[in-house]
Symmetry: none
Subunit: 249 residues, 2 copies
């Protein structure tokens, strides 16, 4: 990926517990030319401890903290989760690290494209709910049924691979941007209203779980330029279903 | 490198001071399919502490300790040193990590070939005397004059690259298919019914042209496995809009 492309890649650490790992991740980011670190944590201690370490990387001082994954990826058009591919049944397609990079490159090449690369907590990785915000999942290929990687090492290996390739020479005009996390949230929330208004949620409650609907919407690769049209369609459906539901005066 | 080739690669940690780093290096070795860990240390403490950690990797239990670099690489036909390429004037040619791997591959393919990959201490890296045992030097390419890497991260990145070219042993779940043209037609036709039922077509006729709706639906990359869910949602909306439209009996 080009150095310019890398400025559009955010590393998101979700529930990282060990300040040493947060520090190591920030250091790897600096070494490989990344600057946008975001932390999602329900308590502040690891971030503060990491930041007050004597050798804290500059990246760490500029890091931002968010209350939820949704907030942390709101401006991102491609959200990539990392997973160790353990026992858990994955509801997304998974690709190996090197195969995921071209998709990230493609995303940052688009207008207003921004990529979030998510890493879960040291013990449990990303939860199903956290993964439901992802468009894609990647895994670092391991041998002999390798166990999960140390968080700092996983970040270093992933960023090494992203920075590894020579910048591809594109002569095509940039492709259009993908919908951002915030736009997908608005789409999803209106869709939920329509499904409620049409009583879909009564007949198929199993398809209406928060994570299930998250994933369903993110598996669509909704183009940014189409967002307003789709939102307009959904708004109109909400309006009509509500108008119908009102008792005739 | 093939899995068989990797059995002929030894990782040599020279004067590693931090037991956590030794543990992390061993863990990365296990993950990427390497087994031969060698430590060169003038005192025993870090090795013993690393080995007695509760989550010590199996690789660590089989590790060997040597009194000197010369002893540690005595059976190796290619010795590769790692360096951060700092201030020090290097007396060896240095190549970037990815360019060093083919030489390592070549060495393990030869009869009785065996490779040593040397990492120096956390603070100072490999000394000139230690480097003098090396046939080649490699460096992990960094951006913005990146500082030296954490030892555990450097080992992980190097071993990732050495193992990178090998065919993955784990089979990933196949990527899901995309919706077929026929499925997209059914989606589009139901969507059109919903837009009609909700009077969207009256307000925005310009978005309802046959080609415009075709394109809108095809710009979504609808996964094949999700088609039935989306069709079910649309059918339910059609049903509800029609039920509402019927005059109360």
């Amino acid at each position: 990926m080009t150095a310019d492309g890398q400025t559009r890649v955010a590393v998101v650490l979700v529930r990282a517990r060990n300040p040493l790992n947060i520090g190591a991740a920030a250091r790897a980011m600096g070494n490989f030319g990344f600057a946008d670190l975001r932390l999602v944590n329900d308590y502040d201690v690891p971030f503060h401890e990491a930041r007050s370490a004597v050798d804290a990387a500059p990246v760490l001082h500029a890091a931002q903290q968010f209350a939820s994954v949704a907030d942390a990826v709101a401006d991102c058009t491609l959200v990539v989760g990392t997973t160790a591919m353990g026992e858990r049944r994955l509801l997304h397609p998974v690709e190996v690290l090197r195969d995921a990079v071209p998709h990230m490159q493609d995303a940052v090449t688009r207008q207003d494209g921004r990529v979030a690369l998510l890493f879960g907590s040291e013990k449990t990785g990303l939860s199903a709910a956290e993964m439901s915000h992802c468009h894609r999942l990647l895994t670092v290929p391991m041998r002999n049924g390798g166990i999960s990687m140390n968080l700092g090492q996983a970040v270093a290996v992933c960023l090494y691979e992203v920075a590894r390739g020579a910048p591809p020479q594109r002569t095509l005009p940039p492709a259009s941007r993908q919908a951002s996390g915030e736009e997908l949230q608005r789409f999803e929330s209106l869709l939920r209203e329509v499904l409620h208004g049409s009583e879909y949620d009564r007949r198929f409650p199993g398809n209406m779980g928060e994570d299930a609907l998250h994933r369903l919407v993110r598996r669509l690769t909704l183009p940014g330029d189409d967002v307003e049209i789709w939102l307009g369609m959904l708004r109109q459906m909400v309006w009509k279903l509500q108008a119908n539901a009102r008792p005739p005066s």
